[in-house]
Symmetry: C2
């Protein structure tokens, strides 16, 4: 800017305009008193990414530090950089690849049935609708402190067993989906004073466990996995099924898979076969 030198010892802070705790960025409004009392300055500060120099033991104390010890290979994989791929899952690929993967892995849902049956975490329940067909339990996600509305994250677990994911949904489930939307929003509004227009309400595909559940997060909160290749708004899901009762049995759904996940090998193997058939 025309060669002006900014001397921060003359910066007088008027107010903090914004602070992003995820990217560690703040924007400030103020004056440079040596330049002008009348002209505003916006100053944007952002913490720098780590460099090799920061990784000396001295630097470790000025940052938030978490230690996993002893660490297993699973821990190492979890925190390592991983290649990811996006795949386009047709209904045929769902039947032949994804569904077989889910059945083979036999993910345990014991922990979840314990919650539904009040054997575990009963004290954490925010709201419960006991109906066996359209009922659900709403509770704070474990990633949330259950306090700060700016990072609000709740989960609705449906009571009915056997609905694995989005792919199983059809018009029979519309009463269930509408019930979760209406009563979930009302419960969160009542308990946390966050209204519907400030909530992101969505399902993951693929989900992290194969029993239907719906995520409620604060709209401005960058919760993990809210990207378009992973998350499907509940309003969109309801609209799709209203337009076409078997939408989720016919649509091509994209999702992301990690390179070291067996599902990625299965998808590649299958597409190689598909190419051979041509």
């Amino acid at each position: 800017h025309q060669g002006i030198t900014f001397n921060f010892s003359h910066f007088r802070l008027e107010r903090i305009l914004n602070s992003n705790t995820s990217t560690k960025l703040v924007s400030l409004l103020g004056h440079f008193t040596d330049l002008s009392e009348e002209k505003w300055a916006v100053v944007i500060l952002e913490k720098k990414p780590f460099t090799e120099d920061d990784l000396t033991s001295k630097g470790l104390f000025s940052v938030k530090t978490t230690v996993i010890y002893p660490a297993t290979q699973k821990h190492i994989d979890k925190y390592s950089k991983q290649e990811v791929h996006i795949v386009q899952e047709t209904q045929e690929l769902y039947q032949e690849v994804t569904l077989k993967h889910i059945e083979r892995e036999q993910f345990s849902l014991e922990w979840l049935y314990n919650i539904l049956e009040h054997k575990k975490e009963k004290e954490r329940i925010i709201f419960e609708d006991p109906c066996e067909e359209t009922g659900f339990i709403l509770l704070p996600d474990l990633k949330w402190d259950n306090k700060n509305p700016e990072t609000l994250y709740c989960l609705a677990l449906v009571r009915k067993h056997g609905i694995k994911s989005l792919r199983d949904l059809n018009s029979n489930h519309l009463p269930l989906l509408r019930n979760i939307l209406t009563k979930g929003v009302a419960a969160i509004e009542e308990k946390y004073a966050v209204g519907r227009s400030q909530l992101r309400i969505y399902l993951h595909y693929q989900p992290s466990f194969y029993h239907l559940h719906v995520h409620f997060t604060y709209l401005k909160h960058d919760a993990p996995g809210i990207y378009c290749e992973k998350s499907h708004l509940l309003d969109t899901v309801i609209s799709n099924i209203e337009l076409m009762p078997d939408y989720y049995q016919r649509a091509t759904l994209s999702f992301v898979v990690r390179e070291n996940d067996r599902l990625w090998d299965d998808f590649r193997g299958d597409s190689r076969k598909a190419i051979k058939h041509d």
Copy 2:
């Protein structure tokens, strides 16, 4: 962990597992030599968000600093925290509220027509298909340095005028959409060696300008606006129109609007009217 004290002066780094330059987080693998040479430790370091103390002038030099001076009200608004709301736009609300808003604002597309006509930015074109019906121009987004594939961001601008957004798309546009997908992917693969399975290919709704365009970003790059309430995968758009030619004239689409945007007032006004009509 069972009361172990970790002494970082004894931490020996084996390798950096991952580094996130957006959230300023690194994960490290190593040993605590005072504890065991055989047991691995994963150490996760994350820069802390700004505190009041950081905002002294001394702290300003250890972080990335940007100054806007003199700052206008527009600058101040841009960097201020803003309330946002999610709205559910039925086809009726599109016609009565959103479309009227677009027509009223009369956003200028002169800069874009200049690109399409080779009057501006011709040297930035990565690929061009000159067909008037299904053609497009692919160029790097201005937010990208056009070098680092880890932050790849390209835009496809369709040659055909008059397609404002997703809402205008129907089965007549399938050849155009498939052409962008196929030739856009091929051009990026050839020039940047990034394949289809590592690309997020999507449209924004609402878009930032009302002339159809498609975003191509590196899948692992947290590009702005890739959230499920804003972005629609091109594969999903094509699948939806294949399932139902007038899908985008019938579906309820959700999107986010800023509280100080006139469109938010219009939506609220309209829903108040809608309530009165009941």
